[in-house]
Symmetry: C2
Subunit: 206 residues, 2 copies
């Protein structure tokens, strides 16, 4: 197993920025590392190193230890992804075009990270499914929030409530699955195709 030194620009810029408060640096480092390595694969010492904080600081802000840290990391990834989603959807008036634009955004993010930065919460959520209710429910909240953002966008253009509800589910599910497939295959093709099909599906309901 190759060890990731985690020295790339995105990591450093976010987690090591000395202007950020300590707690914030810790959360960002935890979020990024768990996104890449999962819950069990990420050590608290690694997080404290990456965040340029001491182990004592980590336990000062997160007395609940690794689990509390994971919940904070998922919440952070949740809001980060939600913000990107809102921005991309807001850039186009037609919801079909908007979703297509977001698939391109995801593909770009994956490629520029050399296919290592996928969904910010999936890896953490999957590895702890069924063993940590706090982490699981934080992940469930994230999915619900993302669906709601898509739902609102679809409703704006006059799609019926029940149709928008179902479409929001499939849009998020397909985006997640296509990002996963793209990461595993190291190719943007799954995302490109998913964008095309989601746009077609949405248009059928307009």
């Amino acid at each position: 197993m190759k060890k990731t030194p985690a020295t790339d620009a995105k990591q450093s810029a976010a987690a090591q920025d000395p202007v950020l408060a300590t707690r914030e640096r810790i959360v960002r480092a935890a979020s990024r590392l768990m996104q890449r390595q999962g819950y069990a694969g990420t050590g608290i010492k690694q997080i404290s190193l990456e965040a340029q904080a001491t182990l004592g600081s980590v336990y000062h802000f997160f007395p609940g230890g690794k689990q509390e840290l994971a919940v904070a990391a998922i919440r952070h990834g949740d809001l980060e992804f939600a913000e990107e989603l809102r921005t991309a959807l807001g850039s186009e008036t037609d919801p079909a075009d908007a979703v297509l634009a977001f698939t391109r955004h995801l593909a770009t993010g994956l490629r520029t990270s050399d296919w290592i930065d996928g969904c910010p919460i999936t890896t953490t959520a999957l590895g702890t499914a069924g063993s940590s209710p706090d982490i699981q429910s934080a992940a469930a909240e994230a999915f619900a929030r993302w669906r709601e953002i898509v739902f609102d966008k679809l409703r704006e253009t006059g799609i019926a409530e029940t149709d928008a509800h179902d479409l929001a589910h499939t849009v998020i599910s397909t985006l997640e699955g296509a990002e996963l497939a793209a990461q595993v295959s190291r190719s943007s093709e799954p995302l490109d195709i998913a964008g095309k099909h989601l746009a077609r599906l949405i248009t059928a309901y307009l």
Copy 2:
């Protein structure tokens, strides 16, 4: 973090069956445990215990250690999932109905495992992305195989080759994403809705 005793019927029946050869018991235990806990979250000692094999036996069959074991586990999950997919798709002549039937199969599997047995390879693949090329390429092979099974089914019913290629991508991506969303949300709703939308999408190409 609650510790999973791993005493449920599915695990025991597969991994502890004394009739199975030792190597096979080890692979099955590794596959199931990594499916649930990921690569880093699963210990070799836990695998040997679950498989009722000694640590020496594990290293006898897998001298490459944990990584070699993970590749074998992914291959096992790959073929297992492929078999389920072929069976479900073969149960209906209309490909739209066939995919719908498979979403129900996935939902049943998730619910009966109390939402812990999701995709057999995703958790392992995600936690090791970018750090273990062997595991990553085994996972990429699995996705390609599953897409090909869907592709063949679509071609049988006269869908054009390029359309079938794209549809196969989206079917697998959406199934993966919906299973993930269902697992995280502990609800079959994402899979139910995905089945409906995928059937609609496929029908549009018939």
